[in-house]
């Protein structure tokens, strides 16, 4: 009996390891108050905590974000800080959450520096089950960049500013 019992029990232990694999995705429950953070600039300063309920991970109390104006999109700055050029380790990972449905449309970004330099980006709507776009926000020069965001149909637009470090 013992070998059979041990084999069956071992299979269950093996399966139990998968219980950890998704545990980090469970939501945190405590409400979080907002506090200032680096990463935004001009009219849209960055904050930590107090993320809008429609945004991804609204209870995240550690990752800075920039709320657009009007507040229909949010840039979550997973990389801190966003750096000029094409940095790696860490790369400039940014999650854009949008309030209105993407409807399969890409997020188009017109990024304009104070020097007048302009960069156009298009991020495909390839994340399922969430109104988010994930990308690496690589901009060529440091400074305060104005991002004009547009997505959806009919097209929604909003603006946010991101501080790009050297």
């Amino acid at each position: 009996m013992i070998p059979i019992a041990r084999a069956a029990a071992s299979i269950l232990v093996l399966a139990a390891g998968c219980d950890s694999a998704t545990s980090s995705g469970a939501p945190q429950s405590a409400p979080v108050t907002e506090r200032p953070a680096a990463g935004g600039c001009a009219f849209t300063p960055a904050a930590i905590g107090g993320r809008p309920a429609w945004a991804p991970d609204p209870t995240d109390a550690t990752t800075p974000y920039v709320l657009a104006t009007p507040p229909t999109a949010v840039a979550i700055l997973v990389a801190q800080p966003v750096r000029a050029g094409h940095p790696t380790n860490p790369a400039n990972k940014v999650v854009f959450g949008v309030r209105s449905p993407r409807l399969g449309t890409p997020l188009r970004i017109e990024a304009r520096a104070t020097t007048g330099d302009t960069v156009h980006l298009a991020i495909p709507a390839d994340v399922v089950d969430a109104e988010v776009y994930i990308t690496y926000l690589d901009l060529p020069a440091p400074g305060c960049w104005r991002l004009n965001l547009s997505w959806g149909a009919p097209q929604a637009t909003t603006i946010l500013f991101v501080d790009v470090a050297p």
Partner: protein
Amino acid sequence: MGTLSLGFAVSALAIFAVVSLAGEALFGWLHRTPAPSLVAAAALAALALVDLGAFGLHTPMWRRQTPKQLFHRFGPSAGALLWGLDTGLVVTTFRVTSLSWAALALAALGLVPWWSGLLYAIGFTVPAAALVLAVPAHPWSPEDLQEPVWLQYRIMALEPAMRRVALLALLAGAATAGALTVWGMA
């Protein structure tokens, strides 16, 4: 991925070994009787009821995540190692189901060997490594994205199905343990 897996395996091995030793000290005298199987059947059935939400109960867990700041404070390698050491401890982070508690119960009852933490670690690290190493980062995008973030959302969408599978595993385990108890008594 390597340091995360190493940390996870070390912690899992340690926690299962400690629970096995404690179980040996407390219940060692029962190991040659059908009692451990009987207790395992009852425990697994009870955990299945808990996961079902019976009597307003919920999966017991410490509602805590490994702090993300570890990566910023200690860097990618040490941060991953610490992350693995934390999550491999089984009891210190969120649980999706009660399968982890069932595994620890089986260790305490002496129904799995003391090193079964390695099996637990394999159950986590092999699928995780497959996801990280084998899945394309961003298959539909011309951009050179480094992480399969899209997969995280798909896995999260599968959570209800995973709960049902775990419930079936608990019930099957309880039934197996019950059958072995009867067999041992016969």
